[in-house]
Symmetry: none
Subunit: 411 residues, 2 copies
C-alpha cells in the first residue's frame, strides 16, 4: 500500500525548524510494509493545505501532522472538512478529555481550546495523552487520512497507541519485510555501482547512500511470507558479497568505531593514539562508543613539535631532517605512543589539514598514517585535498580501517 | 516571487536521512525575498519526479536537489528532459571539469561519471567545485528550475557561487535585506522567549533556533531601501541586547571555538587540554578552526588512571582518595597540562559520560571542569545526565565558555 506524509506549518517553510517528524514517520511506515511515495510540506494557508489534501487521494494512507492546536493558525481539520465537503461536528468524549486535561493543571477550558474537539463528520477522534489536541482519522474515497499533532513527543505517543494498530488492521495481509545495510569503505559510489550493475534479485530493492567517507548500500525486501523474504535476502546477500565483498566492512549500524572497539574488546587488546592534523577527531570518534574505556587508553593531540618530542619521544633529528609531516615522524609517533602507553596498538597521524601550511613538496592534504603493532610499525602516505573537515574525517576512517584490517588479519 | 523546493532520493523517503537541505534552502530563499510556498520530496522514480516537476510550474523558482550523481538511480536531469520534452545534450565544459577533477585524485572517468555532463537542451550547466556532479538551470514556461547536487557541502558551494547571483538577477526590484544571528549560551529557549515577549520593532522578524547546547536568535529585516533596513536593525539590536544581552556571546557564524581561537590569537596566548570523559571532543572542535596551531599546543585524552599520572602528573594519592571523577583530579589535570605544555591556559575535564560507570554518589552525567590560568586554577562541578553525545557537547561548551570569560575578563 502507498503512503504519503504531509507536514503543515509556517515554521517549516521558513527553514527555522528542521522537519524531523517526516523521517520519523517515514521509517515507521516503511517498516510496516507501506511504500512511502510522497512527502510535502506547506504553510498553514487554507488554499495550499486543500491542494495537498486533494492531491493525496492518490495514496492509500496519508499522515498529516500539524495544525491541530488551539490557535487561530491551527486549522487543519477545518480545511480538511471544507476540502471534502463535510460538516464540522463536536466529539463529546474529546471535549471531556480536553476539559479533564486542563482541569488537572488547574486551568479552565476557553473557546480556543474547545475548538479542538471539532472534527469532520464521519471521522474518528482519538486521544492525546500528552497534550490537549486530539488526533483524527478520516476516510475519503478509500484513502485513510490520519491527522496527528506536530509536537514530536505527543505525536509519537499517538502513533504507538492509535496509528500503528490501525495501520495493521487495514492491511489485508501485512507484507513481510526485512532490510540489511552493507557499510562500504575504500571505493567511491560510482565504482560500487559499476560492480553491481548486473545485480538483480526478484523482490529485492538496492539503494545507495553516501555517508562520507563511506557508502551505505541497502537491500530491502517485501514479500507475502517471511520465508520468501528470507530466501530473497539470502540470495541478495551472497550475490552482493561476491561482487563487492572486499569493500564491505560491516552491516547495519556497526560503524567503524564500533567494529574496531568490539574487535579490540573481544581480543582483550588496547590502543593509544598520537594525532596531529586530525586534532582529536579519531579519539573523539572512538570515545563516542559506550564502554570505550575498556580498550582506549589515551589519545594525544600533539600539534606542536615540542609535544611530539616530550610526549611521544619523536627525535629532534627526525623533525629537523624530515619535517613534522613525514613518514619518519608518523612512524615514531605510532611507536612512541604505543610504547609509552603500554598498549597493543599505536596509531600515529601527521599531515596538513589546510587551508594554510602547504608547500610545493608537501601540499595541503598530504598525510602519513602509521600503525604500530607487536610485530612492528608501518606507515603509508596519502593525499586528501578535500578541505579541513572532510580531510579529518577521511584520515580518521583510513586510520581506523588500517587497525581493523590488522585486527582481522590477526584473528 | 514564489519559490518551491523539491528534494529527491530514496534515502529521504525511507527516513534514513533527515532532510537538512530543505531548511537550509528555505532560509536562503526567504532571505533573498522569495516566499517559499511548497516543499516536496519523492523517491527517485521517474513517474513521481515527473509529477513533481509538472506541478512545480505553479512557482516562479524551483530548487531541485538530489539525483545528479553517477549512479543509475541518479536520473533527475533525464526525467526533467522527458517531462518537458527536451533532448539530453552533452556539455563539453562540464565533461572537461569532471575529467579534471577525477584526474587530480588519480582516477579515470568511467561511463557512469561521464553521464553527469548531460543535461536537458536549453539548460545551462554550472560547475561543482567540490565534487564531480555539475548543477543545471532550466527555464520552462517562465518557471526557473535550478538543479543542485544533494551532498550539502557541494550544494552550499554551488548556491553561493551560482544560484544566489542568478536569483538576484531575475528579481525586478530586489528588496533590501539584512539578518543578524545572536548566539546565546546558558539560558534555555523558553527563558529567552519570555525575556523577549515584548520585543517588537516594525519590519523586523525574530525567530529562534535551538542548536544544542546553544540557542540562536535571528533578527531579519526586509524593506524597500537599505536605509530603512539599517534603521530597523539598529533599533532591534539595541532592544535585544538590553533584554537578553548577558546570554549573547557572539554573532553570526562566530562559534565558540572560533571566538576563543580569535581571542587567544589576538593576545598571543596558548592553551593545552586534558580531557577524560569528553574523549577528544574539545580538541577536535578547537582544531576544526583553520590556524588553530597558532594557539592550540596539545590535547591529551587521558582515559586511564595511568595516563593521568604519567602524562599530567596527577598524584596517585589524589586518585586513590578522591577517585578519578573528582574536583581534585580536575584541578591537577588542568594545572598539570598547563605546566607541562608550557601554555598560558590549561583545561581539565573529568566525568562520567555514561551509560555505564555511574554510582549513587557520582551518577552518570557528573563532571568537573577546571581551568588553570597564570593566576591559579579553579574547578566547578556540573551534572548533565543527557546521554553520551549530548553530554560531550555540553561539557565542551561549558569548558570553552569558561575560557572565553577568562579571556574577556583579562582584556
Amino acid at each position: 500500500m502507498k503512503a504519503e506524509i504531509i507536514t503543515i506549518g509556517d515554521e517549516l517553510m521558513s527553514g527555522d525548524v528542521i522537519n524531523t517528524n517526516f523521517s520519523w514517520l517515514a521509517q515507521r511506515l516503511w517498516n510496516a510494509g507501506f511504500e512511502v511515495t510522497w512527502q510535502s510540506s506547506c504553510a498553514d494557508r487554507p488554499e495550499h493545505m486543500s491542494e495537498a489534501f486533494r492531491r493525496a487521494l492518490r495514496s492509500d494512507v496519508v499522515i498529516v501532522t500539524g495544525g491541530l492546536g488551539p490557535t487561530s493558525d491551527d486549522r487543519t481539520l477545518q480545511v480538511a472538512a471544507e476540502t471534502f465537503d463535510k460538516e464540522m461536528v463536536l466529539a463529546d468524549d474529546a471535549l471531556v478529555a480536553i476539559k479533564d486535561r486542563l482541569g488537572r493543571i488547574g486551568r479552565e477550558m476557553n473557546e480556543a481550546q474547545r475548538k479542538q474537539a471539532y472534527h469532520p463528520a464521519g471521522g474518528v477522534m482519538f486521544a492525546n495523552l500528552k497534550g490537549t489536541a486530539p488526533g483524527c482519522r478520516l476516510e475519503v474515497d478509500g484513502t485513510h487520512f490520519i491527522f496527528l499533532v506536530g509536537v514530536p513527543s505527543e505525536m509519537h505517543e499517538q502513533w504507538e497507541r492509535e496509528v500503528w494498530p490501525f495501520l495493521q488492521s487495514i492491511q489485508d495481509k501485512p507484507l513481510a519485510f526485512q532490510q540489511k545495510i552493507y557499510r562500504c569503505f575504500g571505493a567511491p559510489e560510482a565504482e560500487l555501482e559499476m560492480a553491481l550493475k548486473n545485480f538483480s534479485v526478484p523482490q529485492l530493492r538496492l539503494s545507495y547512500r553516501l555517508k562520507f567517507p563511506e557508502v551505505l548500500i541497502k537491500l530491502a525486501c517485501w514479500a507475502d511470507t517471511v520465508a520468501e523474504v528470507n530466501t530473497a535476502m539470502a540470495q541478495g546477500h551472497e550475490l552482493l558479497l561476491k561482487q563487492i565483498g572486499q569493500h564491505v566492512y560491516a552491516n547495519d549500524d556497526e560503524t567503524i568505531e564500533k567494529l574496531v572497539g568490539r574487535l579490540l574488546q573481544e581480543r582483550g587488546e588496547t590502543v593509544a593514539l598520537a594525532e596531529s592534523c586530525t586534532g582529536g577527531y579519531i579519539a573523539n570518534l572512538m570515545t563516542d562508543v559506550a564502554g570505550a574505556s575498556h580498550y582506549f587508553k589515551q589519545g594525544l593531540v600533539t600539534y606542536s613539535n615540542e609535544a611530539k618530542q616530550d610526549l611521544l619521544g619523536v627525535k629532534a633529528d627526525t623533525l629537523e631532517a624530515e619535517g613534522a609531516v613525514s613518514e619518519a615522524v608518523a612512524l615514531e609517533m605510532a611507536a612512541g605512543v604505543r610504547e609509552r602507553a603500554g598498549t597493543t596498538y599505536g596509531i600515529g597521524v601527521t599531515g596538513i589539514a589546510g587551508p594554510d601550511g602547504g608547500t610545493e613538496e608537501k601540499p595541503v592534504g598530504t598525510v602519513h598514517v602509521a600503525l604500530a603493532t607487536p610485530g612492528g610499525v608501518k606507515a603509508k602516505a596519502y593525499h586528501f585535498p578535500y578541505g579541513r573537515m572532510y580531510f579529518k574525517q577521511t584520515v580518521t576512517a583510513v586510520a581506523l580501517h588500517k587497525l581493523r584490517r590488522q585486527l582481522i588479519k590477526a584473528e
